[in-house]
């Protein structure tokens, strides 16, 4: 795939700083930000920083990744619910794979995620580590 830098850089507030959008009417937090609230359809938001800690809701261990991730496998990917209720998909790293369990507490950290395209653009984002 041909690399397109803007498509990466415009996601930096979310992927690097974990910024979400809080609906000014119902208080629901959207991540990533949207133009219309998924709960009440209101269109005005404030930018907020998400909680960095959360709970693992489910996970898998990927043995057959897409080519971009072939050097990383096997690796764990899960769905985390942050303490403010936001859910996201993330890798879970720095842990023996057999220690993963639904309900484990995690913390989000900043890491290199992938290298895109023939130019090998370094693309960063969040990953989760266990906290207990």
């Amino acid at each position: 795939m041909k690399s397109i830098v803007p498509r990466y850089t415009r996601e930096i507030p979310q992927r690097a700083r974990l910024e979400g959008a809080k609906c000014l009417k119902c208080g629901h937090i959207e991540f990533p930000p949207r133009l219309v609230c998924s709960k009440c359809r209101h269109r005005e938001f404030e930018t907020i920083s998400l909680q960095k800690t959360g709970t693992l809701l489910t996970y898998t261990i990927i043995y057959t990744p897409a080519e971009t991730f072939s050097m990383q496998s096997p690796f764990a990917v899960g769905i985390v619910e942050l303490d403010d209720g936001v859910r996201l998909t993330t890798q879970i790293v720095d842990v023996p794979l057999d220690e993963l369990k639904i309900g484990k507490r995690v913390e989000m950290i900043f890491r290199l995620v992938q290298k895109e395209g023939h130019a090998g653009i370094l693309e960063y984002g969040y990953k989760a580590v266990l906290t207990n």
């Binding site: 489910t58 898998t60 990927i62 990917v77």
Partner: protein, 382 residues
């Protein structure tokens, strides 16, 4: 709105079709459907295909396939809803005929997946590219997360998942068009390579080339044509969030339930009136979720239903008599139409060794992504 019927169906063999191009695969299926129907022309066509652009570098396949079928200048368009593309194409054909705009419309589906591109990457484009696939999750990975959540909450087991694959292979063994015509055991599944824990290789549908087509006509015209008609008594579709993580319940594919509710209402039927079904078993857990959302099993009891024989060929509600996506194969854009082809064969009494006795009402369920799109169709024998 006019009542509509399917008057002809056709499909290619599913598998690794190294000597056939995308256009030839589609044309073979379309010609079979046209011959089966006994029509001398079509008024328009819709083709479901998920990603010819990424798989073989070809977009604009509406024009190309009308050209190679020799039907230009009829209107021809590609329809895309990931793995639900085929059944969504069928819906466009149904609407066009029901409205009275056209009389004979072809709904087809085709995918050429074995020409060398990174299929794991291409299939993952049906997920949220920026917030799921970006972090390395694959399609088997998304369904594996549904499976793990289902196991955690309901006690569903790997053996129950395997029972789905064993049943579907037993059916596909009897289907001459199936990609993998071999019987397997639970041990085959549980001892196979892990793809995305807890899903093994034999929990996953394969990478497949194939095409399928159906001819839709007004019911009132059906008697005058050669093909034995099957009436469409419900067509329904629902959407859900693109990302799995946005769903409130990770053990439920709620778009199946939403589409099913509309379809049952349209047909005036309850789940117990369904004689057989083709459901979207892209992964074994998906078939278990489908049982629960279609009303074949209670929520959380889908795994036990798979093990009980309820959905076996000789069970109360045979599911995936064709072999399903698991054994018959899953050329993603063609799957929704191939499901229709199986139900039509069953309701006509033409399913050979796989024939379900006294089949009168059949259901198909076809979905895209991790359930971001889902269709349900109900067909009745005439």
């Amino acid at each position: 709105m006019r009542e509509v019927a399917i008057i002809g169906v056709g499909m290619t063999r599913f598998g690794e079709l190294w000597n056939q191009s995308l256009r030839d695969i589609f044309t073979e299926a379309a010609l079979k459907a046209i011959d089966d129907a006994g029509v001398d022309h079509i008024d328009s066509m819709y083709i479901g295909s998920m990603s010819p652009g990424l798989y073989v570098g070809q977009e604009h396949i509406g024009s190309m396939l009308a050209d190679y079928l020799g039907v230009t200048p009829v209107p021809a368009s590609r329809v895309e809803s990931a793995c639900a593309s085929g059944s969504v194409a069928l819906r466009q054909a149904i609407f066009e005929v029901a409205s009275g705009y056209s009389d004979i419309v072809l709904a087809g589906g085709v995918e050429k997946m074995n020409d060398g591109e990174d299929t794991t990457y291409i299939l993952a484009t049906a997920a949220d590219q920026e917030y799921e696939a970006y972090f390395g999750v694959t399609f088997p990975g998304l369904y594996a997360m549904i499976a793990r959540a289902h196991m955690h909450r309901y006690g569903t087991t790997g053996e129950q998942l395997a029972a789905v694959a064993v049943k579907n292979h037993a059916n596909g063994y009897r289907n001459p068009n199936a990609q993998f015509r071999m019987k397997i055991t639970k041990e085959t599944v549980l001892n196979s390579t892990m793809v995305a824990d807890p899903l093994h290789l034999f929990d996953c549908s394969p990478v497949t080339d194939g095409g399928a087509a159906a001819i839709v006509v007004p019911l009132e015209m059906a008697d005058k044509l050669k093909g034995q008609p099957v009436k469409i008594i419900a067509t329904a579709q629902a959407s859900d969030t693109i990302a799995l993580h946005s769903r409130s319940d990770l053990t439920t594919v709620s778009s199946i339930g939403k589409a099913a509710e509309k379809a049952y209402k349209m047909a005036g039927l309850t789940p117990d009136k369904i004689d057989l079904a083709e459901v979207h078993d892209c992964f074994t857990i998906a078939e278990i979720c489908a049982y629960e959302e279609l009303g074949f099993a209670e929520k959380g009891k889908g795994g036990a239903a798979a093990e009980s024989g309820l959905t076996a060929l000789d069970g109360k509600i045979p599911v995936n008599t064709s072999g399903g996506l698991k054994s018959k194969g899953h050329p993603v854009g063609a799957t929704g139409i191939a499901q229709i082809a199986e139900i039509v064969a069953q309701l006509r009494g033409e399913a050979g060794e796989r024939q379900v006795k006294n089949a009168r009402i059949g259901l198909t369920q076809n979905m895209g992504g991790s359930g971001g799109s889902c269709t349900v169709h109900i067909l009745e024998a005439m």
